[in-house]
């Protein structure tokens, strides 16, 4: 009987320290949230996740309330659902738009999803918009605060996850505004352009400017995602490449990436467009009689490449040939490079680029 609570009439297990929300999510209960990001400390700002607790006078926020032995929880009573709906209506009415491009960020569609779930008519109230946009010419982060709902997820991810404390909250109540230290540009703040704030924002108020360049192409369709590993440093962050029509349009951090748990840095987040750059080599090149490199067919280039090694081997012996493997290409390339040298020339004349 230890470590059990009841959720909507079903008895479930919990472990020490788990919140009601976490237990409920583990048992596939859908409790709506807005200010919640599982990687951050519980905050309890939006009140959307409230549940009824038997014996408690008022409903409690499930994201901040720890499960305790014998709790009886009801997650979706009529009263609770009605309260949630009103709350969402207010939030929605304060925003310039709710149907934002999926390119804005990983969580940008959260508010729209909830609006649909609770069948809220976006145009019911047309209140003033909450925040004021900030013109910031930086190439990565759009600061579209007219969509801000003051969930503080961006401020918290920046402080808790990044430890950067680049952004903060200014004013209170309706005039609340997310800003940098001196209300200036991100570039002049402690911001490292890691992009974490745009990926946690549930409305797209902070958005991926670079990805949005492809907004026309993607329209409201969802781009395809391919899970891979960041091409830069050795931390090996998991990312999803967003593509549309064979074009890379953006990067999302993988929230379940074992090395990064959703974190990324400016390179992993934004420096992906070298891949489809016009400078890419598209055909083999062979140095001609004139001393210049000329485009060639694979057949000719590979024949020539092989011929040169055969010749060096014949003229100077097998120790005249050396191989350098890449620290960026996949392991299959490095494996074959060493095999090429060891099988082909019987030497250990192989290295990789780690010495520099």
């Amino acid at each position: 009987m230890r470590h059990k609570i009841e959720i909507d009439g079903v008895e479930v297990n919990f472990s020490e320290g788990e919140t009601i929300l976490e237990v409920a999510q583990r048992h596939e209960k859908e409790i709506p949230t807005l200010c919640y990001d599982p990687r951050l400390e519980p905050f309890g700002g939006c009140r959307l996740c409230i549940v009824e607790l038997e014996g408690a006078r008022n409903p409690v926020a499930s994201c901040t309330t720890k499960a305790t032995l014998g709790m009886v929880v009801r997650t979706a009573t009529d009263t609770i659902e009605a309260y949630r709906k009103t709350l969402l209506e207010m939030v929605v009415s304060e925003n310039r738009e709710v149907d934002v491009s999926p390119l804005r960020g990983y969580a940008a569609g959260e508010l729209a999803d909830l609006r649909d779930k609770y069948a809220i008519n976006s145009t019911r109230m047309t209140g003033a918009t909450s925040g004021t946009n900030k013109t910031d010419e930086n190439p990565f982060i759009l600061r579209d605060y007219e969509l801000c709902i003051s969930c503080y997820r961006c401020v918290r991810v920046c402080a808790e996850q990044e430890g950067d404390h680049a952004i903060n909250v200014m004013n209170r109540g309706f005039h609340t505004q997310i800003t940098t230290e001196f209300d200036g540009l991100l570039k002049d703040s402690a911001c490292t352009f890691c992009g974490q704030c745009i990926q946690t924002c549930p409305t797209g108020a902070l958005a991926d400017k670079k990805a949005l360049r492809a907004a026309d192409e993607v329209a409201d369709a969802i781009p395809d995602k391919t899970r891979t590993i960041c091409p830069y440093c050795g931390v090996g962050c998991s990312v999803d490449i967003l593509t549309k029509n064979e074009k890379i349009v953006g990067i999302h951090p993988a929230m379940d990436g074992p090395a990064n748990q959703g974190a990324l840095c400016v390179k992993g987040q934004f420096a992906y467009d070298f891949v489809q750059h016009s400078d890419r080599l598209k055909t083999p090149l062979i140095r001609g009689e004139d001393g210049e490199l000329h485009e060639a067919t694979w057949e000719d280039a590979l024949d020539k490449a092989a011929e040169g090694f055969r010749q060096a081997n014949a003229e100077h012996g097998r120790h005249s040939i050396y191989g350098i493997a890449s620290g960026r290409a996949p392991s299959e390339a490095a494996y074959l490079m060493q095999k090429f040298i060891r099988v082909g020339f019987g030497s250990n004349y192989i290295d990789n680029c780690s010495r520099a």
Binding site: E162, D224, G236, V266, F274, Y322, A325, A334, D351, N352
Partner: protein, 525 residues
């Protein structure tokens, strides 16, 4: 790394030396920041007042290239204060008695004369690290890119061994790797001293194994390193196959390097761009890039992970593995008839005991950290838990050595080099990513403001920087990140080829270049 990345949140005391982690491994640094928020103490030893130093509780601004002296001084204090872990030393190590005697002479006062770090700070660092139940060491190229790189690493091992900070959560000796598959390249046997899986080429057992596997015996002795090979270009090395490395910009002493590559009879370069190195090639073969290639990489915590293609390559670009197979087949080599990366990786797993429990399907979810010796094995997040691979941990009686070149009347300033957050290596990639220029448009030389006047330089103006090997022009930037007498630049920009100047020496054992220390002279332009 001996310990997994998640362990970064666990230590009581973290000792970072020669690592600019917030810039070079920012995501790893987030773990460290969480540890600090939880109350962990951070000690940072670095010649420059880097971002990490601002987070630290104790900052040790040591002179470039004096790490061994600092670490000897710390070992001295740990021993003197009785902060050693006797059980660990007794059960898991060998050579402590000689080591104990060896370090008795290297007092923190002596270390102060070499490093410039006050003896009392060296003592505090030693007391913190030695007194912690969980102390972890993190380092990067600031430790290894020296002529004494091996001694530096051995000195760090000494500290961990004498305090028993190995094989447990929140401890360990943790080098951070700089490229996304540099670990995997070594794992795969692209090393002159090891077959795949770090099986020594000098060991008769592995010699026999690979002879049977490959149908041909390789030399019984180690091959030469890349550094030596470059030195022998045109002499005894006449042909080279280089896969995706911009050797010319990333290696020290660029002029020497360019000369070396030019003197080859046959240079084949596989790359995604026409890099400065590819421009010297006889044949350039276009490879598929990240995002276009299926394959495997291994991260700094030995986690084996799948990379996946998302878009088709441009033009006729082909995967590296295909290109190598094609050349090999034309030369009649056996064992290169692959038509996909999967069987290649599976062959690597079959011949490498550390990958023996893995295959292409099993790594799909990035769950495994090697060694994974068999299919039932869960992987090894933490190394050395019960024992060391070679039995006991060995103490090394290291001595401090001066850098290959020290400052002189002609070259009175220490130059040290590294990377910056926004750019990566030689910028073949970040240089072509839109927006990065907004953050880092050009390279500049970081100089302490107080040094400007004595060298007649002005903030934002150009200067000429010369070493024994050559000179370059570079813009001056005044910043307190640089201590007096030491300047910093990164080697990322082709138009400011800092590696024209470096290259004064190499570690005699690993042949890692001393990129971190180079005496220079500065003059106004």
């Amino acid at each position: 790394m001996s310990n997994p990345l998640v362990d970064m949140q666990k230590p009581e005391v973290i000792f970072c030396i020669g690592t600019n982690m917030t810039e070079c491994h920012p995501v790893a640094a987030t773990g460290l920041k969480k540890a600090i928020a939880r109350g962990a103490k951070l000690i940072v030893a670095d010649p420059r007042r880097i971002g990490l130093a601002d987070l630290s509780h104790l900052y040790l601004p040591l002179r470039v290239g004096s790490d061994t002296a600092l670490l000897l001084g710390m070992a001295h204090v740990i021993a003197r204060e009785g902060l050693i872990n006797e059980d660990f030393i007794e059960n898991r190590t060998t050579g402590f008695d000689e080591f104990f005697e060896h370090i008795s002479q290297w007092t923190p006062e002596w270390a102060e004369t070499i490093t410039g770090v006050p003896a009392k700070d060296i003592e505090t660092a030693a007391m913190w690290y030695g007194g912690a139940n969980k102390g972890a060491i993190y380092y990067t190229l600031g430790i290894t890119e020296h002529i004494c790189g091996v001694e530096n690493v051995q000195s760090l091992c000494n500290l961990a061994l004498m305090t028993g900070n190995v094989g447990r959560e929140g401890t360990g000796i943790n080098p951070m790797r700089g490229q996304n598959n540099i670990q995997g390249a070594g794992d795969s046997g692209a090393l002159p001293n090891n077959y795949p899986g770090f099986q020594a080429v000098t060991d008769p057992e592995y010699q026999a194994k690979f002879k049977a596997e490959y149908g041909r015996a390789a030399d019984l002795e180690k091959g030469i390193t890349k550094v030596t090979a470059l030195e022998l270009c045109g002499d005894s090395i006449h042909a080279m196959l280089i896969d995706g490395e911009n050797t010319l910009l990333s290696d020290p002493d660029r002029e020497h390097c360019e000369h070396a590559l030019r003197s080859l009879a046959h240079l084949v370069v596989i790359d995604i761009f026409l890099t400065e190195t590819a421009e010297l090639a006889d044949i350039v073969l276009p490879a598929t890039a990240w995002g276009e290639t299926d394959g495997v990489c291994t991260n700094t915590e030995r986690r084996v992970q799948r990379m996946r293609a998302a878009v088709p390559p441009p033009g006729e670009a082909k995967p590296d593995w295909w290109i190598i197979c094609q050349i090999a087949q034309r030369l009649g080599f056996k064992g290169f008839d692959f038509n996909a990366p999967k069987p290649i990786f599976n062959e690597l797993c079959r011949v490498s005991p550390i990958y023996a429990g893995l295959d292409w399907e099993r790594i799909d979810k990035s769950e495994y950290q090697w060694p994974v010796p068999h299919k039932e094995h869960p992987g090894t997040p933490r190394l050395h838990e019960e024992s060391f691979v070679n039995g006991r941990g060995i103490f090394s009686n290291v001595h401090y050595r001066d850098p290959a070149e020290t400052i002189s009347e002609d070259f009175p300033v220490w130059l040290t080099t590294g990377r910056r957050l926004q750019s990566y290596h030689t910028r073949t990639q970040t240089g072509r990513a839109q927006g990065i220029d907004y953050l880092l448009p050009e390279e500049s030389l970081e100089v302490n403001p107080a040094d400007l006047e004595r060298w007649e330089l002005a903030d934002g103006e150009w200067c000429k920087m010369s070493s024994a090997r050559g000179s370059i022009n570079i813009k001056v930037k005044a910043t307190n990140r640089s201590p007096r007498g030491t300047v910093f630049a990164s080697f990322s920009f082709a138009d400011v080829p800092v590696n024209l100047l470096t290259g004064s020496g190499y570690d005699p054992i690993t042949h890692t270049a001393e990129l971190k220390v180079c005496p220079v002279r500065l003059e106004p332009l």
